[in-house]
């Protein structure tokens, strides 16, 4: 026989359908968003992985100064296949944007094949296919006309090139720009006719797919050297030493021929001439390597997939907090039901129902609602919400088309973990409650503590003493209310705090920057071997290297190593002789302190570096370590006196642009916050609304609990002749005062909670910044909560009004 008690489930559901519907919808919504994010992420990453074969993504590319001759290409290393990928970088004019630059390629057929997001590839000379995201950003679409290098083209396709999923113009740029930069494809003849200088880019694929980034790095290092030598020697050799020897010989032979005199032997002359003649065919093939970008280091390819992860980390935590709040709501609801059904439970226990049977029954509702929410949430996640998230990504990146794939991670995070959290919280509460003896249930005496004597109260006015008495009598209920409010406040802190933190970070970034400009040079000496200098009085040399962590909260996180001058005006600290200072952000995130030893390594190699922390330098703008520049050169085996570039608070204009590798500015350093703001920021408004709803729900349930518990007393004072307004002033006003106090206290507490959670999130991501909530933000949180409460108090007043006078006369055992 099936347990007949289970028949109640559907009836309970029907009776309290409004409450369960709200819980169900809230949970489905949250699970849906999270699931959408996980699924979109997983699907996009899968599409990225697959694009290597599907769209034949390059393993890297290099640029030569001139077009390579066939002979030169034949002399290129055997382990790669090379594909021409010439482009012309020309101005693009659309209605909304006059300043864009478009990098125009021929239609690719073998490598980096375009993904046609919309429309098709050009077929005639006046047709063009451009990057989909750029088109969206500048407001053009299929059928529109754009002017490229002075010629009008009709857009027939919106595309994504696998080697430009993020529109980085230069690989050394720190941020991409999909508004002023575009990539496009033309037919061969249209491309040939297009006015513009040709950049001779060659993309390549290894014969054998490199198994890891590290192998890519090894192969890439080898390749770049060989290609540079092959290009420089016109294919004579790929060996650097041999090339140098040849260069010396050529100089020698040339000098000999230029300075022939009576002492020069005919044999030498003829040998030199023969040798130079033998080299002539190579001279026709001579070229120069101007750029080499392997895939692992190509930001245009790697940036987008690396960015996806941060959203998921943030969303995961938000879902867990949210589910914990809902689990709490459920547990309170169930606990309330158990209190109301105490006599029935006592009877059932007295007649032989086991504790387990009753616990199972009371566990059913939260589990069923969670499972149903997970089902609907996942359906929404795999459909509507996934599309929302994907469109968000499509608004940031030039992404190839994807197929939705089953994501076990999404299942674990949005279904299994919520179910476990819900089950654990409810089981804890229900088991605790059910631990009481059947007799206690029969007597409706569910308090676990021993009854205390009435406390003597100060000589307040009668009504105030009455209120105080109510407060003391319901202290348990109010403690639960405090927990409920604190949970809601934590969610509110998240929704209010995250955008505020990002804004605050942006605002204070200027102060946090080491310098307004960081000029990174290609070399500290110019072509003539002279050390590069500037007359800019703000400029100060520094050195910089990027290493990654080998242990701690986030292995593999990038750490910037700075070498600075002794009396630096940008790093205001006494740099130690035998160790380093670490930035406070690094110290906080990795829990480092003075005296600790840190081991960092090169990102794509195994070489490690060990440093002793001699102090913390107050710099929250990034994870870095600081040392004297001499020590820096020593550590990294660099020439004495060498440096990487200049810190400067003003623009430097007297350094040859060709010598500047990149300039890091405020905008670049803020990329993390900009990205987070872009992706998560838009969600936070929804989270605030969800918080308001949850706030209403939690406070509604908890104040209902308190009023129901006092129904008998309320009824009694009604019998005695108290008016509703007086009863409200006793019960509702007391609760209002308590809620206001709780709101402020929990608001401040929630900041501690959020700081803790934020640290966990930040540890799973690259970079660091502290959570920040302004006083105004706190007031906003309190405001939202109080609005929730005042909506609820309206219902409370109605509830009190409805309590019948007969309640007081009920026979309670």
């Amino acid at each position: 026989m099936r347990d007949p008690i289970n028949k109640r489930i559907l009836r309970d559901l029907a009776k309290e359908w409004k409450r369960y519907l709200v819980l169900f919808l809230l949970m489905s919504f949250m699970i849906g968003i999270a699931s959408g994010m996980f699924v979109a992420n997983g699907s996009m990453l899968k599409a990225f992985d697959d694009s290597y074969t599907k769209y034949s993504m390059e393993d890297g590319h290099f640029i030569l100064k001139e077009e390579a001759t066939e002979e030169l290409l034949e002399d290129m290393p055997d382990n790669i296949d090379i594909y021409e990928q010439f482009f012309k970088e020309v101005p693009e004019v659309t209605d909304g944007n006059e300043d864009a630059v478009v990098r125009v390629f021929r239609i690719r057929e073998d490598l980096n094949i375009a993904c046609e997001n919309e429309g098709r590839l050009p077929e005639t000379e006046d047709e063009i296919a451009i990057d989909r995201m750029h088109a969206n950003n500048v407001g053009v679409g299929i059928g529109d006309t754009i002017t490229v290098s002075g010629k009008d083209f009709t857009i027939v396709g919106l595309i994504a090139l696998p080697d430009y999923s993020t529109l980085f113009k230069k690989n050394s740029d720190i941020m991409f720009n999909a508004i002023d930069f575009d990539v496009a494809l033309l037919t061969d003849s249209a491309w040939d006719d297009l006015n513009g200088n040709i950049t001779y880019e060659y993309a390549f694929r290894y014969d054998e797919t490199p198994a890891s980034d590290k192998i890519q790095k090894e192969w890439g290092d080898d390749l770049v050297e060989k290609i540079a030598v092959i290009a420089a020697t016109g294919g004579y050799t790929d060996n650097k030493d041999e090339a140098e020897e040849l260069a010396d010989n050529v100089d020698e032979w040339t000098a000999l021929l230029e300075n022939i005199d009576e002492t020069t032997s005919m044999e030498d002359i003829s040998e030199a001439m023969d040798n130079l003649e033998a080299l002539e065919p190579y001279g026709d093939n001579e070229n120069e390597l101007t750029d080499f970008v392997p895939r692992y280091a190509n930001q245009a390819i790697q940036f987008a997939p690396e960015d996806f992860g941060s959203d998921v980390a943030m969303m995961g935590v938000l879902v867990y907090v949210f589910i914990a709040v809902l689990a709490f709501v459920f547990a309170i609801t169930t606990s309330n039901t158990i209190t109301n059904e105490a006599a029935v439970i006592g009877t059932l226990r007295a007649t032989g129902y086991t504790r387990g049977e009753l616990i199972r029954y009371y566990m059913m509702m939260p589990v069923i609602i969670t499972v149903l929410s997970a089902v609907l949430g996942n359906i929404l996640g795999y459909t509507a919400f996934k599309d929302t998230v994907v469109s968000m990504y499509y608004n940031s990146y030039s992404l190839i088309t994807y197929e939705t794939v089953w994501n076990p991670n999404a299942f674990i995070n949005t279904t299994l973990i919520p179910l476990v959290v819900m089950t654990a919280v409810n089981l804890f509460v229900i088991v605790r409650k059910m631990r009481l003896s059947p007799l206690k249930f029969l007597r409706r005496d569910l308090s676990t503590s021993k009854r205390k004597k009435a406390m003597r109260l100060p000589r307040f006015r009668f009504l105030n003493r009455f209120r105080l008495r109510i407060l003391l009598q319901n202290i348990g209920g109010y403690i639960v209310l405090f927990f409920g409010i604190s949970f809601v406040m934590l969610l509110l802190a998240f929704s209010v705090g995250l955008p505020e933190t990002l804004d605050h970070y942006k605002e204070t970034m200027t102060e946090e920057l080491i310098s307004e400009y960081q000029y990174i040079l290609k070399d500290y000496k110019d072509e003539d071997g002279s050390i590069i200098t500037t007359d800019n009085s703000d400029a100060e040399i520094f050195s910089m290297e990027n290493l990654v962590t080998t242990d701690g909260v986030n292995v593999g996180e990038g750490i910037t190593v700075y070498g600075v001058t002794d009396d630096s005006s940008y790093i205001d600290a006494d740099l130690p002789e035998d160790g380093v200072l670490i930035s406070s952000a690094y110290g906080t995130k990795f829990g480092l302190k003075e005296g600790d030893t840190i081991v960092l390594k090169e990102k794509y190699a195994d070489k490690t570096y060990e440093f002793t922390v001699r102090g913390i330098y107050n710099y929250t703008g990034g994870l870095g370590i600081f040392m004297k520049n001499d020590m820096f050169n020593d550590v990294f085996d660099l020439e004495e006196g060498s440096f990487s570039g200049f810190f400067s608070s003003s623009k430097i204009s007297d350094i040859d642009e060709d010598m500047i590798y990149t300039v890091i500015t405020k905008e670049d350093i803020m990329s993390l916050s900009t990205q987070l703001d872009h992706s998560m920021g838009s969600y936070m408004d929804y989270v605030s609304i969800a918080c308001l709803l949850i706030g209403i729900l939690v406070i509604y349930l908890l104040t209902k609990l308190i009023i129901e518990k006092n129904a008998g007393s309320i009824s009694m004072v009604k019998v005695l002749g108290y008016e509703n307004s007086e009863i409200n002033s006793l019960y509702v006003n007391l609760t209002s005062a308590v809620v206001i106090v709780f709101a402020f206290v929990s608001a401040f507490l929630s900041i501690y909670g959020l700081t803790f959670i934020f640290k966990i999130i930040m540890c799973s991501m690259s970079g660091w910044f502290d959570i920040y909530i302004s006083f105004k933000g706190i007031l906003k949180m309190v405001g939202i909560l109080l609005v929730s409460y005042f909506i609820v108090s309206f219902f409370d007043v109605q509830r009190i009004k409805k309590i019948p006078l007969t309640d007081a006369l009920k026979n309670v055992e």
Binding site: T351, T354, P438
Partner: protein, 239 residues
Amino acid sequence: MSEKELQEFLSVCNVYKGFGEGDSRQEVLRGMDFQVRKGEFCVLLGPSGSGKSTLLNIIGGIDSADDGYISIAGDKLRDMDEKALTRYRRKHLGYVFQLYNLIPNLNVKENIEVGAYLSDDPLDIDELLNTLGLWDHRYKLPNQLSGGQQQRTSIGRAIVKNPDILLCDEPTGALDYNTSKEILKLIEDVNQKYGNTVIMVTHNNAIQDMADHVIKLRDGVVRKNIVNENKISAVDLDW
């Protein structure tokens, strides 16, 4: 079961029970001692505070004695752990309370099924509904029933598993005269038809006349232990 076992089916041996501590400690049972035979209709009679409900709860295994013991068919309750006590209640006991304690969103039949679920060999529910006079009301929810009908349902829930002992705690305490008599008649019928041992707690003196065995309690001790040779039917009771 031997004649001796039949005679001493339920033994209450020197049971003590008190509540509170220190000065406020109150001894409710002070050496309670008696036996009940199998199939007997036993009434525990006494004024408020005499300890009758406390004793019933100890017999029911939902409360425990401070000293002394209760044994049922030779098994001492004090030797049972919580699981064994639950098994004991499940297998041997039916409980009827003054305030019916029915599950509000289960109908009459389903409330009785709640009791049937606990038994491997429950009585036929339809037949029982007829016996209880609830056949026509079987699909009604408790709030659609009168007090008497609700108490009938709670009796149904208690006896459907055909328990060895039916414990009734003031079953007519919340009912009017006529309904009380109906309920008492029903319990009498159940006792006769199914042979369960009935232990009923009441403060109504009149009810003692329908019992086989009357135990009068006062101040936590047995004042009188009477075997009623001239019991009358519940219908003939008057008070």
